[in-house]
């Protein structure tokens, strides 16, 4: 008994399960990818050799990479900003626990529990240039119709719209949970302090919601940078890479062109990029967040 206790009290034994899982499923693959990124490894021919930084140099010379990078940044910026602002506005209107609010909340949340495939297929119908309802509506208002994901000009916008729509319900839920955790008596104190609607919104609600919004910001950035399903299902990165995002591009190189070395190098660059953004984020916003 004493022996068992002694073993159990050993901290290294206590954290071992987590460490083993992280090592096998995260740490080892990362290190493996770093190694592969310095190789020319063709998975079809089965040849591999060390080539140093050649993969990285090739990527920087590749105009598609720069285009994909640009697309990813635009995609992330719009999905994150519009997604959060829209969620905040909708959350403000739906925060009271009235029956109608709960109903709308459920409806908005539904896309989140649907599979990405059905959501995307539905939007492809809506956005169909010939028979889609979106173009029908545009025509009805006398506006010029769009080619949506069929055209290089609008394909990125199309996947941005679908991504925002799919993630909105979750964001609204989180915003509402945050709003409801602000005590009612704080608002009553503000009323007695003669605070008007806008003053209350900007001086009371927004600062007290900032931890929630910061959480949403981080999770939205991570999910928008790693977006894959919408691209893969709707546009396959096309036309002419106009809607290609970095994760899908890495997948194309690794699993369609079978160039695992270059794909690994792309992954490593992607990891570095996301880390830098996370650090900037934290440094910039942490001071503006009011934890209670």
């Amino acid at each position: 008994m004493c022996m068992v206790n002694k073993i159990i009290r050993n901290p290294y034994i206590l954290i071992a399960p987590a460490i083993i899982l992280v090592s096998v499923f995260s740490l080892y693959p990362i290190l493996f990818a770093v190694r592969v990124s310095f190789m020319n490894w063709d998975t079809v021919l089965g040849t591999k050799e060390y080539v140093g930084f050649k993969n990285y140099i090739n990527i920087f010379k590749d105009p598609v990479f720069w285009m994909v990078l640009r697309n990813t940044l635009i995609f992330a910026f719009f999905t994150v900003v519009i997604g959060i602002v829209l969620a905040f506005v909708i959350g403000i209107f739906l925060q009271k626990n009235r029956l109608s609010d709960n109903l709308v909340q459920s409806i908005i949340f539904t896309p989140n529990i649907l599979s990405a495939v059905s959501v995307t297929v539905m939007w492809m119908w809506l956005m169909d240039p010939n028979v889609g309802i979106l173009n029908f509506v545009l025509k009805w208002f006398g506006l010029p119709t769009l080619k949506w994901m069929m055209s290089p000009e609008t394909s990125l916008m199309s996947i941005i719209i679908v991504s925002i729509w799919k993630g909105l319900g979750y964001n609204v839920m989180i915003v509402i949970a945050g709003l409801q955790s602000i005590p009612r008596y704080i608002y009553e104190a503000a009323k007695l302090d003669k605070a008007g609607r806008w003053t209350t919104l900007f001086r009371i609600t927004l600062p007290l919601l900032s931890p929630t919004l910061f959480f949403l910001l981080i999770t939205s950035i991570i999910s928008s940078f790693s977006a894959f399903d919408v691209v893969s299902l709707m546009t396959k990165g096309g036309p002419e890479n106009s809607s290609n995002l970095i994760v899908y591009w890495i997948y194309q190189i690794g699993f369609l062109q079978f160039n695992i070395g270059k794909a690994s190098a792309g992954s490593i660059l992607f990891m570095i990029m996301v880390s830098i953004i996370a650090v900037i984020n934290y440094a910039f916003f942490n001071k503006k967040v009011h934890y209670q």
Binding site: I186, A189, L192, K194
Partner: protein, 361 residues
């Protein structure tokens, strides 16, 4: 002008429950009025209606001469201190105080002056730039107080502001609030369920039960002259002992008026009993004694042991009589039949041909 008047005020919630019906209440200018009652009696609702945080279903509310029934909370010339302080957690002490003043469009210099003034009054001047999360419960309540004072309101509304503080701090804050009331010369309306708070601070007590006012008066009046059985048993620590006499009414007497010795010229009742429990209260003891009158609470300095046989003497002068509707009664017929019915109880002797004229009150 800072008196408050509630005329036929009714509050019905959206679920159809009426918590206050036709409430008539007058709170005097510059008084320290405590609304006292058990939880759920409507005292907080009444306060929140005065503040404007709760809509009035029917009736009118006046502050001074002004009908404020439909006025926004911020325009009523009041300040409120909440039970859980309700300070803004993301603002420093200074910002907390300034927030309301800025909304009132007061000029900068005046704001700065008032902030300095109020933090000096409550002893927070070293914490002006601290966030509330760094401060203790007592200090947070002081932020709320100074925020309320900075607006220089005619009326201070306080909703159980001391109940989240520990006992020692509560005692201290009670004293400070009394001083504050004297200094500010404005009307204080204070809600509590703690009768010690009410008795120590109030110039006026309004006792609530089930949404209506049971009695209104000075602490001394409600203690010495309870208008009904509810007030008699609610006020005092402990509340009055009672003996229910079917079809006649109820007799009440205070625990510290129960004596172990017979005084000269004793008129009253005498009851044999046995000590059941003993509580040490410092100088006094509180005993529960089983007698023919039921369980009697006695407060005295004498040392008794549990199980000891005692004889208790309760003077007629210390007794209060209530009719079957629980209203205070001085009706001689009632008193006489009460004594008669007491004399029939086991182990109880009525030791006088009682002189009714002596009855208290």
């Amino acid at each position: 002008m800072s008196s408050i008047r509630l005329e036929k005020v009714t509050k019905t919630y959206s679920n159809g429950k009426t918590v206050i019906e036709n409430l008539e209440l007058e709170i005097k200018e510059r008084s320290f009025t405590v609304l006292l009652g058990p939880s759920g009696c409507g005292k907080t609702t009444a306060l929140r209606m005065i503040a404007g945080l709760e809509e009035v279903s029917a009736g009118q509310i006046y502050i001074g001469d002004r009908n404020v029934t439909k006025t926004e909370p911020g325009d009523r010339g009041i300040s409120m201190v909440f039970q859980n302080y309700a300070i803004y957690p993301h603002m420093t002490v200074r910002k907390n105080i300034e927030f309301g003043l800025k909304n009132m469009k007061i000029v900068k210099e005046e704001i700065a002056k008032r902030v300095t003034q109020v933090v000096n009054m409550v002893g927070l001047k070293d914490y002006l730039n601290a966030k509330p999360s760094m401060l203790s419960g007592g200090q947070r309540q002081r932020i709320a107080l100074s925020r309320a004072m900075s607006k220089k309101p005619q009326v201070f509304l306080m909703d159980e502001p001391l109940s989240n503080l520990d006992a020692k701090l509560r005692n201290q804050m009670r004293g400070e609030l009394i001083d504050l009331h004297r200094e500010l010369k404005s009307t204080f309306v204070f809600v509590t369920h703690d009768q010690i708070e009410a008795m120590t601070m109030a110039t006026n007590i309004v006792i609530f039960n089930n949404g209506s006012i049971m009695q209104q008066g000075t602490p001394k009046e409600v203690y010495e002259n309870p208008a009904n059985l509810f007030v008699a048993t609610f006020i005092g620590d402990p509340g009055m002992n009672t003996v229910e006499l079917p079809k006649i009414g109820t007799i009440g007497y205070r625990a510290h008026k129960v004596k172990l010795t017979k005084s000269a010229n004793f008129h009253g009742i005498q009851a044999a009993g046995m000590v059941m429990t003993k509580e040490m209260l410092g100088m006094d003891h509180l005993y529960r004694i089983a007698t023919g009158l039921g369980t009697v609470l006695m407060k005295c300095e004498e040392e008794l042991n549990i199980g000891e046989q005692v004889t208790l003497y309760i003077s007629e002068n210390d007794m209060y009589f209530f009719d079957v509707f629980e209203k205070r009664s001085r009706d001689m017929m009632l008193i006489e039949s009460a004594f008669h019915s007491l004399s029939l109880m086991e182990g109880v002797t009525v030791t006088s041909d009682h002189v009714i004229g002596n009855v208290h009150g």
